[in-house]
């Protein structure tokens, strides 16, 4: 997969848990254009092991001199975000993928309701630039824990004005999804990005109120969960690989020198899907891509976030 060589041009501590990184091309040229809601996958080398994590681009799609991402520090994860916070410094070279968009605005929408929870604000930062340029009708509903955790809230207030509605847990102000979604004009689209309970609640509320499926949009990147070690066999490459507790199957395949397709690495896009040829144990599906019946069939697996139990898992790779 072709990558872009960038270097870190600036790092800003935005909230106690969130850092904002600015990337520019290492050779000083312009970066590829992107559309609101796009993300890039950032590669970082932690002690010889490559981590690749997806982050939303939050700058304006009009700006191609620099890309902006924000990273929330996740203590109980595999160390990618902690490394970004503690070890990445200004001037450091990094490799990123070309931008791609799994969370684009519905161009035919007549009104757009954006719902963000915490760090889930990032994809909306670039979407808002697009919505403003289109002169579109939109509302941004942004929920966060306490005033100091409201990343970019002041900046958004300035750029969005009355379109912005903030909900702060510590002030006991809460977003009433039912009230919000039960009285919207025809042609409205809803978009949600944030913690899992918020995404699930938004999807359920919209569906229960009879919103058509193609008016409901969500994005939730998963990080590969830590689990029990297991073994996989690659049929075409004719090798057996050990997947350690902290490694994803995709990372283990890459570390063994086998080339595998991927795009988002967060269980969303479906690009890394592999066919399961044989298995003797349970597949632990963690992705948002396969349907429930596909998951139950044990014929496919998304190696970026899913794992397995048992001695034998033969993949068509």
């Amino acid at each position: 997969m072709s990558m872009i060589n960038v270097k870190v041009a600036a790092i800003e501590q935005v909230t106690p848990l969130v850092k904002h990184f600015t990337f520019v091309k290492e050779d000083g040229s312009s970066l590829p254009a992107f559309s609101g809601g796009s993300h890039v996958v950032v590669s970082i080398d932690i002690g010889g092991r490559v981590h690749r994590n997806p982050y939303s681009l939050m700058g304006s799609p009009m700006e191609n001199e620099a890309y902006h991402i924000s990273v929330r520090r996740q203590e109980n994860s595999r160390g990618g975000s902690v490394f970004m916070h503690e070890n990445v410094t200004v001037g450091m070279p990094l490799k990123i993928t070309y931008p791609m968009n799994l969370f684009s605005l519905a161009k035919k929408g007549r009104k757009h309701i954006l719902i963000a929870g915490g760090i889930g604000i990032t994809p909306f930062m670039s979407q808002i630039a697009d919505l403003k340029r289109m002169g579109a009708n939109y509302e941004l509903h942004y929920a966060f824990r306490s005033p100091e955790h409201g990343a970019f809230a002041a900046q958004l207030k300035e750029s969005c004005g009355d379109h912005l509605h903030c909900y702060i847990d510590s002030n006991a102000t809460r977003l009433d999804l039912e009230a919000l979604l039960s009285d919207q004009p025809l042609g409205t689209h809803v978009y949600v990005c944030g913690p899992s309970p918020m995404v699930v609640a938004t999807l359920e509320t919209a569906r229960n109120l009879g919103w058509p499926e193609n008016h409901i949009h969500s994005e939730q990147f998963l990080s590969p969960p830590i689990g029990e070690p297991f073994k996989i066999q690659l049929a075409r490459s004719n090798i057996e690989i050990q997947v350690s507790a902290e490694m994803s199957m995709l990372e283990a395949i890459e570390a063994a020198g086998v080339e595998a397709d991927f795009l988002c690495r967060g269980g969303v896009c479906g690009r890394c899907e592999l066919d399961v040829l044989e298995t003797d144990g349970a597949l632990l599906h963690n992705d948002h891509f396969l349907t429930d019946s596909e998951k139950a069939s044990c014929k496919k697996i998304m190696p970026c976030v899913s794992r397995a139990k048992g001695e034998r898992l033969m993949l068509d790779l």
């Binding site: 009285d183 004009p185 042609g187 569906r207 109120l209 009879g210 919103w211 058509p212 193609n214 008016h215």
Partner: protein, 197 residues
């Protein structure tokens, strides 16, 4: 036609069934499409409010309809009147409305064109085909639209070229692509057969 032949742009019509999740329902039917509407009420009476717009031809179903849809029934005498009535009620509708259309293909897409201007997208509309398989065709040469073509080859209402009726469908125009059949050898036409009765 070859086995397995299929074109992505060709619309697939289904049998109407109520959406369980909704805040309101809107049924729009013409001619035999009204039987489909009545079939819906045979399935069940929904708990949410229902509006039914019906453009009638010869058979008068208004009496029967009045019994099953006591409130919200609007019987119109033509497709034109129905589209006007539709334009009048749409501004009051909100998200949560589920839309069902039953009638000929030409009717379905005339309705879809009006609905689109109110933010209801093609994918949001449940559609059932009744009455006829007749096609509306769009002439790629003179851009005229010709309605009710029932044969494999039809004459363009604009330029009078003989057009081969293709399966490529434009949701924007509500029409199939029509392409001059005898451009290479003028006047040499294959047999004209009725295939869209």
């Amino acid at each position: 036609m070859e086995h397995g032949y299929w074109i992505k742009s060709k619309p697939v019509y289904n049998a109407l069934v109520w959406h369980e999740k909704a805040t309101a329902h809107l049924i729009i039917a013409k001619n035999q499409g009204v039987l489909v509407a009545l079939k819906l009420f045979q399935q069940r009476q929904p708990t949410q409010p229902v509006t039914l717009l019906y453009a009638q031809d010869g058979t008068d179903y208004a009496k029967t309809l009045n019994k099953v849809v006591p409130a919200g029934l609007d019987v119109l005498n033509s497709e034109q009147d129905l589209l006007v009535s539709l334009k009048n009620i749409m501004p009051n509708m909100r998200m949560g409305l589920r839309v069902y259309v039953a009638g000929s293909e030409g009717f379905i897409w005339s309705v879809a064109e009006v609905l689109k201007t109110f933010g209801v997208e093609d994918a949001d509309i449940m559609k059932e085909l009744t009455d006829t398989l007749a096609r509306t065709i769009y002439c790629v040469h003179c851009k005229a639209i010709t309605h009710n073509i029932t044969t494999n080859i039809g004459k363009c209402s604009g330029c009078e070229r003989m057009l081969f009726v293709r399966d490529h469908f434009s949701r924007h125009l509500g029409a199939y692509m029509g392409l001059m059949i005898d451009a290479e050898s003028p006047g040499e036409l294959p047999e004209i057969e009725e295939i869209y009765p």
